[in-house]
Each structure stands twice: as C-alpha cells, then as structure tokens.
C-alpha cells in the first residue's frame, strides 16, 4: 500500500500533518484522533478522546519484514492505542496491509507473528 500518510487532530480543532509536525513532536496530551490516509482517502481513524475509562495512548508504526533471499517480505502499518486497565497494559491495534486488508487485533504478542509488541521511543512516554 503506497502513499500512506497520517494526520493528527488536536482537541483545539487543529489538524497537523507530517509536513507541519514530525511524528516525534506530536503533543500526545492533546491528541483527539489520528488518521491514516492513502492520498486524501481516509483508511483508518483512531479515536483518542477521553471516554471515561482512562487515557488512550497512540500507537503507530510501519513494520517491515524482509527475507535475505530477495523475495518480497511484507510492509504493513500498525495503528491503535494502549491504555492501562487494572494495572495491565491493554492494546487495540489495526494492522493495515498493502493489499488493502485491515485486521483489528488485540493484545500484542498474540498468536500471529505480526503482533510483536512495539518498543516505545523516548518521546512516547505515555506508552512506557
């Protein structure tokens, strides 16, 4: 799936894109929603507004699998959220594949090889 990009919506109504704000510099405390788009077409929107059950922290990655024999691996996108429920981290992740499929997954480290947990970057303090 080519030409995938994102945009983020703040509580103030402001919408930012990678061109205006690098992902690492997103104000994660002000996020209301996060979109993945293909061109101008909305593929997935992740709602992050307060829902009375606690904060939801954004998760977003592009994951690449590569074989060393030159055959095509796979590239897909993870987008979703993580929150703490009763002291446990709980995730809800959408996996977007190059053929257009969308898989709604649950916890990291599920049975599928795709569902390895992410390693938070230093700017993702709400995921640590």
């Amino acid at each position: 799936m080519t030409n995938i990009t994102w945009q983020a919506h703040y509580a103030t109504g402001e919408t930012v894109t990678p061109e205006s704000v690098p992902y690492a510099h997103l104000d994660r405390d002000r996020l209301q929603a996060f979109d993945l788009l293909q061109g101008s077409r909305l593929l997935v929107r992740v709602e992050l507004r307060e829902d009375g059950l606690g904060r939801r922290a954004l998760i977003y990655r592009k994951r690449t699998l590569q074989r060393n024999d030159g055959t095509e691996g796979a590239t897909f996108y993870l987008v979703g959220w993580q929150r703490v429920v009763l002291g446990q981290k709980v995730q809800a992740i959408c996996y977007l594949f190059e053929d257009g499929r969308v898989l709604l997954g649950g916890q990291f480290r599920g049975d599928d090889e795709l569902m390895d947990e992410i390693v938070p970057f230093e700017w993702e303090k709400d995921l640590v």
Binding site: I4, Q66, N68, D69, T71
Partner: protein, 179 residues
Amino acid sequence: MAATVQIRRLTGANGSITSTDITSGSVHAGTQDSNTSPCAIPVPTSGSNHSYWVTAQLNCTASADNALNNIKFWTDGANSFGTGITAIVSTASGYVQATGTTGSSGILLSVGNYATLATGGASDLFLYTSSCKLTVAGSLAGATTGSFGDRVVSQLSIISTAGAGNSVAETLNWQWDES
C-alpha cells in the same frame, strides 16, 4: 516514513570492514572471510568443522522520518541444511573478524572467541521462529542513515555424516519498526 533498509554482511579486518548488501542474494558460509566464492567446509572424518562466522547487520540508506527500532530475526524453525549440518546464531554489540584456517575450519563462534557476543553465547539458529524471534538490540534515532542495531552472527558446523556438495539454502527473516 520512507526508510530504505538493507541487510549487509560484514567481512574484513576491524578498521577496514567490507559491508556487502545481501538483501537480495544468497549468503555463503564457507571457510574464508569473504562473501564471494567461499571455500567449502571439508567434511571431517571425526569431530566437526565450522564455517567462518557470518556477521550481518541492518543498514539504513534512506532515512526514516523519525526513527527505526525493534529489530527481530528468525527462521522457519526447520533445519533443512541436511544431515550432519547444524547452525548457531547470536547477537553481538561489536564486530570481530571471522578467522580460522582457510579451506579447513573457522574458529568456533563463542564468547571466548568473539568478545562482544551476547551473554550466554550462541544458540541453535532454528530455535528462533516467527513466534519466538531473536531480539536484536539497537535503533537508529532521528532522520539519519547508516548501520544500526547489533550484529547477527551465525555459523554452520558439519560432522562426518554430512554429505558433500552445496547444502539446501535457508531463508532468514528480519523485521524492524519505523516511525
């Protein structure tokens, strides 16, 4: 996000390392420190002969928007090299040139012989599968290029029951995340 990442094999002496793009080709484990035309591993009459260890590392040639991390490595879990052939793997925080006796055997991949090998040394390559991947430490921060992550170092060993000729090729898998 537009990172371009290659898989590279490292050979040569420290300080003048040769980094060869192996993303789209076979890697031969023979009895010399080279990625081309390697010397075969002789089948021993007793004991075992080892390949020179094979050191691989990821290299980013076009940067990500932000960073790369969460490197994983694994196999299909089935040793198809053939009778009498085994393989081990570990990660290493540094590079040590493979040595041994050309045309005969490499020295064993061990913590004693490879100073920066991960604690505990090497394990069976085929223990690492899609549900139990080898975690490779390291990341590439910022919109930068270059090598990143620990090295993945592997080695074949053969015993007297191995047959002559080229072994079946095994596919090795890498994975990384990008933001």
